[in-house]
Structures are given as structure tokens and as C-alpha cells.
Symmetry: C2
Subunit: 134 residues, 2 copies
DNA sequence: CTCTGTGCAAAGCGTTTGCAAACGA
DNA sequence: TCGTTTGCAAACGCTTTGCACAGAG
């Protein structure tokens, strides 16, 4: 994965901080600000939290990164992918992506409500297989 | 609707402020803190925002009230009802309740992911019939 | 009478802003 | 070189806390 091209595609100048942000998001899948900042700090001890905020906000504006609001948790960030749902394990907090076919659902809602549906946010709360066994 | 019984059921003492909070939530369906506070202020000019926060937090803890997190908007509060989805009009901000049968979806996810699903949060973004015509 | 709720002010916390210096193109 | 990004500190806005007084049971 070439993060340089990706950043340039979104008109974001290449900086070491940004490359690392993208790398962490890519590898972690979902990260909240604090986690991200902690990891970045290891590589850039002088890094400012403000820089992380500025970059995430910018990347979200450009729709290169997406913010995922999880009930009762801090927002997490992910590289923007095709629309998908999230399953959150209420015990360990792990977040799993889930590609759902919501076509039927959306068609159904369109006819019953007469709304034009643009997007859907689906978050499921559950217990992951690992936590079930504990 | 007898709000007094309802409050007592949740072990909440009856106060004029609380009765009015419940009344507004009941009539509005979905309200954010600012709206709620503005309306309450008309009846209780000395009301403190802190009181509204304290009460909402308490009512949410007791699951009498639910917080609904909407992407790119402040949370709104509603009296806890049976699980349902929300459609948000991206133009006018109106929120509509939608009772969806998610049984198929949930069963499907349970088998494919092996997660126990406890609850689901579904928010749809769209354009309401009224805004479509403008 | 006792315990809880209210209102006020202050504190707390996460996020944003302004600015000078450093850096990327 | 010029415009952007960084890091720092201060400001900001929302939410929570502590406390004295008022009110509910």
C-alpha cells in the first residue's frame, strides 16, 4: 500500500506524521484519538494532540477517513471504505466490520416512508465468540 | 398519561422540573439538551442547565430515557420505547421513528459471525418527503 | 426529620484556535 | 520561495462536580 499516492490523491501534503496516521489506521482498522495519539507519540515524541485533531478533521472532510460513532464509547476513526455495519463486543470493545446487503431494507423503507435514503449507519452490540467462552 | 406514576416506577422523586421534562420528551419525541433547556426555561426561569443534565443522566441510567447518537448532530433524548430505527432528514433535521423488523438481519448475522447480538442501532440519513418537494 | 433535588459557580475534559517556527513542494 | 503543517499555549464549549439551600416523602 502506497500511502504517499493516497495522500496526494486527497491533496494532502506528505508529512511523516500523516504517513504514520494512515499506517496506523490501515493496520488497526478502527482507532480512537487516544490510541492513535499514544502510538504516534512513540514515533514522534514532540507530536501535539492538536496536530492529530487537525489531521483527522481534514481527512474526514475530504472523506478519506470516516468517524464512527459508537454508543457509550468514544468515536473511532477508519479509512473510508464501502458502506458497512459495525459489531461492537460489549465486553472487550472490539469492533468488527460487517458488509451487509441493506438493499431490501432500504427499498422497503423508501416505499413505506417516502424518504429518499442516502446512507445508513448500523451498529450492532453483541458478545464476540471469544468473550462468550470466558 | 400519568407521568407521576411513571417517575415513581423508576424511583425518581416527583418534582415540577421532572414532570415538565417528561412532558416535553413525550410531546416532542426527540429533543436535544438545548431545546429541552429552552422550553423548560419558559416554565422555570431559574432552572439550571446542570439540573437538566443531572436529570437526563439519571433517567438514562434507569433506562427510562434513551440517548440517540446521530452522526454530525448533537445527541437527542427520547423516552425509552421498544427498539426502533431513526431516519434523519439531512435537510431539515427532523427525526422519524421507524419500527423495523430486524429479526432476519440479526439471525443472519448471528450465524455468519457467531456473535450474540444484544441490540442494534440503526440510523438512516435521507431526505423527507417535504424537503424533496422544495 | 431525613434524604434527595435544585441552582449556582467553579472545575473538568475534550476539542479547537491563533500564532510563530519548521517544513514540503 | 510560498503556502501548508506543526507544536505549543490559550481559548472554547459542553458536561460534571461541590456545596448550600429548598423541597419531597
Amino acid at each position: 500500500m502506497n500511502y504517499i499516492d493516497t495522500l496526494q490523491k486527497y491533496n494532502l501534503k506528505i508529512t511523516p506524521q500523516r504517513l504514520e496516521i494512515v499506517d496506523i489506521l490501515y493496520k488497526d482498522g478502527h482507532t480512537n484519538i487516544d490510541n492513535l495519539y499514544d502510538k504516534l507519540k512513540q514515533k514522534f515524541p514532540t507530536l501535539s494532540l492538536a496536530t492529530v485533531y487537525k489531521n483527522l478533521n481534514l481527512m474526514c472532510e475530504k472523506d478519506f477517513v470516516s468517524e464512527v460513532k459508537i454508543p457509550n464509547q468514544k468515536s473511532v476513526y477508519e479509512l473510508t471504505k464501502t458502506e458497512h455495519a459495525h459489531i461492537v463486543c460489549v465486553k472487550c470493545g472490539t469492533i468488527l466490520d460487517l458488509i451487509l446487503n441493506t438493499d431490501d431494507l432500504v427499498t422497503n423503507i423508501k416505499t413505506t416512508t417516502d424518504y429518499d435514503i442516502l446512507s445508513s449507519v448500523i451498529v450492532l452490540n453483541g458478545i464476540c465468540p471469544r468473550c462468550k467462552d470466558i
